[in-house]
Amino acid sequence: MNVEQRRRVLWRVPWLAALVTGAPTVALSLLSTTPAWAQTIGVATLSGKVVDTQSKAPIADAVVTVTSPALQGEQTVVTDGSGFYRIPNLPPGDYTLRVEADRYRVYARGGIALRANVTVRLDVEVLPETLTAEEVTVVGRPPTVDVGSTSSGLNMNSDFIERLPLAPPGGKGGLTRSFEQLAEAVPTGRSDAYGASLAGTTSPENAYIVDGLSVSDPGVGLVGTPVSLEFIKEVNVVTGGYLPEYGRTQGGVLDVVTKSGSNEFHGSIWGNWTPGQANPKRIVSQDTITTQRKLLSTQDIGFSLGGPLIKDKLWFFVGGQAASAYYQAERELNAFLTNPDGTQTLDAEGLAVSAPISGSKRQFRAKSTQYQLFGKLDFRVDQNNTVSFSVKSVLGQTGGNGYFALDPQSGLIEANQTFNVTGRPLTLSSRKPSQVYDFVLKWSNSSMNKRLLFDTTLGYHTESTTGSGGLAADGSEIGTSEGISGQPLVQYRRSNPSRRSIAEFETIPGTNPETGIGPCTPDIATNANGQPLVTRCPIATYNTNGPGGLQKSISQRIQLREVVTFLFEGLGHHVVKVGGEVEYSAVDNTSAFSGGFNIRESGGGGAWESNRGYFVHTGPDQLVLYPKLNYKVNQWAVGGFAQDSWSIMDRVTLNAGIRYDTQTLYGSQGDVALSLPNQISPRLGLIWDPTQSGRAKIYANYALYYQSIPLRLAYRSGSGEPGVFYRLPKAACPDPNASDFRECNLDPNNVGRSPLNTPDDPNIKYTILGFGRTFVDKDLKPGSSTEISGGGEYEVIPQGRVGATYLRRQTNNVIEDMSRDEAATYFIGNPGQGIAKDFPKAERVYDAGIFTFTKAFADDWLAQVSYTLAYLRGNWEGFFRSQTLQLDPGINSDFDLSSLVVNRKGPLAGDTRHEIKVFGSKDWVLSQGLRLTTGASYRTRSGGPTNYLGSHPVYGGGEVFILPRGEGERLPWVHNFDVHMALGVYRSRTQSIALTADFFNLFNFQATTNRSQIYTTADVNPIQGSAANNPYLPGREKKEIDPARVTTPDGSTFEAGQRNPNFGNATGFQDPLTVRVGIRTTF
């Protein structure tokens, strides 16, 4: 073993270094007991101790300097009396450290990788000049274990992002390759309907932070600024154990650091193209109308450029990206087959058999475009002051001009999980323009040799969106009588005695124009009573005329944050941090129904009904119709925190802190809609490094998290949504094919007695559906969760560590609206507490064991491997309901009525027990200047639970859990194998041109990702008590409820034929094989 090899060993087994004495060496050790919480969000800290290599005496007044391509200029500090140094506010990147002290040799070393929000401790032993020593090259790399923090999650820098197949083109965020897509790579992370779900929570509960500014949508809490990965330097996804400086979330934190310019001019130009995807598996459906969705193409081009405006003083970074996506929605009609005697043809399972109607295929398209612009200036005023200012803009347009919209919130066509063209395309389509602007000003100031730090962040976020409703596709203005915005949505939905046929609305291919006989014509038209026997092309609903619900929102947020950090010594090293932040946000929301109200056919087909429209009651049978509701609501959130990270004897770190928050939401009338004061969140963490060298940690953490409530609650419950039900005579409007219902006599004052009217109701014509604002429990407690976590990490190879973590997060209080009298009056409270004490307590419990192996990019390869065993159960999913996609944070329907809460406890939608994620990348040098990067990922998870759902007599379809939650057959395992390849020609380290290719779902697996869980559309009771014991039909391969166990509210017998024929059928599959190719040049 030569000297070099021996030093490698010393690096890997540092404690051996202490045994090696007399060797003329520069010894360097990396101790682990690092004070955490010492950094501002999004930046890193380097700290350590400088000692004499012989005497081990601390060296005061040594000059410590760090430089990095990521850092504008250099940062210098001087060690204190104990030889301790600390350099905060370092942008993530690779650093070089230099130590100079009188009478000592200059010490320098590079390869120090700093990740965002991580404190790395680097202790240095320097050689006296009097010593004669041979020249030594230090090999190996500093440990990557973050020994100062108890947080779990994943930190992804450009090494990770650029080398792996991430951010697939389909789904939410796929258009621009938004940062939230990275959650799929994180242990405990997965995509949910609205973004990234972390540690069992729902995406709107997360905190989304870009350059220190919260960019969540003030209305509903989703990502407001979908920043492209191209402008991002690092994404830190924190899933648990996080610091008091993170607050107002009980989900996770997605903390994004954007790119900055440096002293060298660098730029990049890129283009990506997804030329479509393999044919998706067809959804089997017992419907006349079926629509198949398929990605046609996505493409994006962009550029970035950064460099100095004044060298060592002022730097810039600018970038832009244009992206577009096209989807195809192929619609086909099917006719049910009949027997010669006119009865329906059934298959072996008793299901009706249908066949596609030849020539009925029609192709529709959905289109979305988005433009991003990003600019940033960094100004180094002096050694102790830096100022940065960044501007981001995201402009989007989707739908309109003959295209359907790709809903920005969910990524789905027209925000519909099972989008189907069940009516006039113009009625079903929408237009969803969006504009987002972010401005962030940051000032960092240090003094007292960087022992006193001030960090100020002032940010402004504004977005103009259209919610899930969108605007009318013809461009007409919301709330006016223009175009289809002035036409009511008309919904044909007769179900009794028979459904309508599609042939009543559309010309069916193959129909004889003279006889009218075609594929949808019944073989035997009528029975003896003149009633049709079989409707061959029945439709559940057909939508015509106006688009119905419309929405437009303008939101803004102003945020000011000030953090003071102070370092001192006392029984060890302390890093004390005190911070405060104020946030004001406002939403100016306009909601309307096209034409003022929706019109639907009564179930029996004999009348028109309206149950959607903003009608204000001003007296019995006196209505004022508001063509639109415009509510301006706002909120103030103020908070502060204090924390100390105490490094005791350089062995153990105790992190103790507390956070205080208060949030007040104001309704449209200016008064309080919801007050959430006194949110006191203690956090306590203990970390011990048994190796005392920064290569391992064992930790435990306790935290209480409070959740802020988005403003949607303030403009719905806090402001009031007036509404009525009334019935119009059928003669008021023509039957199908009326092109414009404005010609009908729809005057609500000409209606007859409401069918819901009872004789004691002072209103005869109308039945009130909504009135006034929702009351709030005076003892309402803010939503919160308690988390305990513990685990350990150990560095097994240089830059590679294994870890095991146990995480338990459980809700304490949940905010929901409820009715104690079956829908007459509602209030907002905590289910199971206060005035809602007779409701079951709302809860969500997440237990996870997480095993990881992480190898940072070094020696041309990286790896990220995890296995998560997790259990998620309860009766509250979070801020949205996966069954219906209802996104009403704090006022979802889970607890609305006591008759709704039965059977709701069980495994929640995100309860995918086993999850394995393997990411790996390797660079290959093919020849001088030619490099191949290969990356691959294998992700697999066990299937989630499904349910048996029925209709509730008051709340309608899908709201009754017939059996306890999760009793349905679990979905199958889903496997994904993705590959990334990049072939690059390099002129220098920073000049290259590369061709890239990503293969998502390489093996084109088509596992079922969702099934129809609607067991019946009939009103039924939940099965409880002894009836719930094995309520299945015997002898079936798949569990199937015995219809005899199902009872109905009106006492009538539940017939087997009332079972939904589509129940259990797949309604969603994995996205098929999709290929994305790209080209990129950097200079």
Binding site: S447, T618, A637, G640, S675, K778, R820, N1021, G1051
Partner: protein, 338 residues
Amino acid sequence: MKTRITLRLLCLGALGSLIVAGSNCADQREPECTSPAAGHFTVRLEPTDVPAGCENEVLRGIVVATRSYYVLDAEGNVDYDQPFRVAIQTLEMGEQFIGLEGQEEFDIGGDESVNRLVGGVSAASLIETNKLYAYGQFTTPQPDSNDQCYIPTTTPAVLESPGLLAATVTTEDDPETEEDEAAQEFVPPEDASTYRAEWSNVTFLVSTAYPGVQFTGTLVYTRPVFQDVTEPAPTAEDPMAVRVIRRERVRECAITYTGVAVSAVNTYDCSTPLPSDEDAPPYAREEGYNQALCGAEPDFSQGIAVGAGINPDFPIVCDPETKLCLLDGPFRSGATNL
């Protein structure tokens, strides 16, 4: 340098002040004086003034509904500062009105109908001037410190029937049966009459837990008393048989009550008449009444899919006499969760 540090610390202090100020915004919004937007109230009635001759007309319980309404300002916009107006209507007056509507096209057989309302008036015209609901307004937008809201007086509810004309209903013979169903039935005329309900001193209990779901007040309820005038109509089977030739209004009884009302959104009636088929749910298998129907929670074992819509804190009894789910105690009974 010191100045800069001091300045920054002052800024932090200002932020701290804001936090303290924010913590003072601790109160939730006060509830508004309101009544439920849906459903019914059962009202337990205690008579306080019974005119002579009306002793047999005393009611022990009735069903009413209340609704609240916004008040418009001079420009026709909702004035959110004004307390709500409230309408209270009895089930009986509503049913009487529906009965009068039915007389407008009274089926006399043979595809013919007549308007039995005296003077040929329409039922709708009857309530254009006389409303079926008592109408008042809360005195304040918010409840007082006792969680109470007040409506001192109301415009009374009035239903004036002009009287009904006599009619003859013809039934034709069904040739497919052996019996001869052909007959003519005399429907007697009915005198003009008046129903009138006037509420006063109405006090609603209004808090977040009890948003207007109990009220008490004074009700002067005027109802007509009819007597059938008959004449002999002997038949072969019954030589003493009589027939009604007129329904005579003999008096109107204006009885004053103290009412105690509780909101029962879904179910106010706990009677269980004999079921007509075997599919009747378990709760209705025995004739009479069933306390289970007044339960706040659904009882799926009894076939009760939704609760009665009565606040679960309130003591409720299925009253054997009225077969209504009535509050079992005085006003504010069970309101322990204020």
